[in-house]
Symmetry: C2
């Protein structure tokens, strides 16, 4: 089943069939109808390989995914779903590349012309893929900021903004414990950790609250939470192991929104998955990927534009995990 068959049935030349599909030259209404009928009748579908070969366009976006996610499965899924939908909306498909493949993965999908563009997730400060990306034949979009973003296209959630908002929600407290990403994440060089930290500390200082920075370690989460609670802290800012933290709080007989304040950096579904819905800043994985894809297709259509860095703004959703009432609250900066 090829365009040649369609041409024969329609009684036109094969190139006409091609032009009917691409619309790259005027076709009389009559011929168009005839050809389209023939295609319909034969349930013709163009061969992707042939098309890629002739047009130098695969209509495929490669996405480099980290499966051992710091991000959490929920966020990752949202990312990839949104990316796939955005791609399909523009008649493209998505190819998955494991981050495990490292720089070779990038070289492979670009070098073999398997794709027209690449999206790289969970980029670290000293990401070796940055260097490769600068020389790739295809536009590449990084989700996350390497230290040297020169010549790259990078986009990320605005963690600084998120930190400020979260601290703002807790500003009625004299002391806040930030229960955050532990060495597992820090060691991977994901620089949103220091970015978030710096902003959180600045915001805390400005609001006059003491911020206790507590990186949570996988095998000690409960213990760490208990320690913080035992210290009399009544305001928790959580960015990691949310589930276990909330459990531990409850086990200590405390209830967010009643006995203490708890805010989180989490997706909406995570924040609402508890008995007490949590006031949270969403990492907006969907917004990030939507914006990333819009940008990527711009690059694809208008040629690689100027390199730059984009941030997706943060926003708080107030739910029931922060005490309201007579306690005086300082407005957020």
């Amino acid at each position: 089943m090829t365009s040649k068959d369609v041409a024969r049935v329609a009684g036109v030349s094969q190139s006409t069939v091609s032009y009917v599909m691409s619309g790259k030259r005027p076709i009389s209404e009559r011929t168009r109808r005839i050809v389209e009928d023939a295609m319909e009748q034969l349930t013709y579908q163009p061969n992707a390989g042939a098309r890629a070969l002739a047009s130098q366009r695969t209509q495929i976006i490669a996405v480099v995914m980290p499966f051992d996610v710091a991000l959490g499965a929920t966020g990752l899924m949202a990312f990839i779903e949104e990316i796939t939908l955005a791609a399909r909306a523009r008649d493209h498909d998505v190819l998955i590349v494991t981050a495990e493949e490292g720089v070779d993965g990038l070289r492979r999908v670009a070098g073999r012309a398997l794709c027209d563009a690449v999206v790289v997730m969970e980029v670290s400060s000293d990401d070796p893929r940055a260097a490769i990306a600068r020389e790739l034949r295809v536009p590449t979009l990084f989700i996350g900021f390497p230290d040297d973003a020169e010549g790259l296209h990078c986009i990320d959630f605005d963690f600084e903004d998120g930190a400020r908002l979260l601290v703002g929600e807790l500003a009625a407290n004299a002391r806040v414990a930030a229960l955050v990403w532990g060495s597992e994440t820090v060691d991977r060089g994901l620089n949103y950790v220091p970015r978030f930290r710096a902003a959180a500390q600045a915001a805390a200082a400005a609001a006059g609250v003491a911020l206790d920075w507590v990186p949570l370690e996988r095998d000690r989460v409960e213990e760490q939470v208990r320690a913080v609670l035992a210290g009399g802290c009544e305001a928790l800012l959580v960015t990691a192991h949310l589930n276990r933290v909330v459990h531990a709080v409850q086990e200590a007989g405390l209830r967010p929104g009643t006995d203490l304040d708890l805010v989180a950096l989490a997706t909406d579904v995570e924040a609402t998955g508890f008995t007490v819905p949590l006031t949270a800043v969403s990492t907006h994985p969907r917004d990030v990927s939507r914006q990333a894809m819009t940008w990527l297709f711009d690059l694809l259509e208008q040629g690689s534009g100027p390199a730059q860095v984009q941030r997706v703004p943060a926003s708080v959703t107030r739910r029931s995990s922060v005490r309201t009432g007579p306690t005086p609250r300082v407005p957020r900066p």
Copy 2:
């Protein structure tokens, strides 16, 4: 950068370069070295489109993914990671197709020759994709069992087996409440729900325990758990909304493994994400996908073998959420 360039540099014919890569005909050690050196020097990579066109092989596996997962993000991610790794291990790549595309998605990736094979996840009883699959030019593997599996290749976790094991773990109790998938999942026609149910009830009957079947509805989970607890039930078998169920239990002041027995059908990471690690049957997403991919590549190499149905065996991991001690336990069937 094409094989022609490599040929020129190596001083051989282009076809020789091709044969060096494919190994499909004897090449003298000398020529092979020369050619390989040239490839190295030019960092040559074969063009995927051209190769697909000429060989009728894309080296791509399409995976149809449901993003609004009944399965849970963790399980889904495990699936896709394992599938991707298995594919890469055999020099294939993975293309993501959203389940949302329905039958058209299948038609598209097969019809356009975008892939060599397809994996379809979360197959329902009356899945319309089953009919399409029978006529596809590419081997198709279903994860899940449609009612009519005639002529199809289907694989799934052995939910019946899982149900039996889980009931077995609770057999010391006179009454067990099964907190299971609600209408959301049932309505999608995922037939592992009835499969699990039938097996659970049979096992309960055999063990002389009364089984209360409680489909959990998204907006009433906590309420439903409280009701079950209020009824004095001390044995919970959970297959859905695990997080919220455990929370609710704890909020009721009860502790699994101390005040009541709780077992779950969940991935290992889910089962161990609580203060009390849960005795659970893992749905083994990784085993399922590994086995699926092995089978798929067999089909790819040996031509579509006989259609059949495969089940991935269940197993319990005993942790600390079931009370042990003097209570008499009946052995599982």
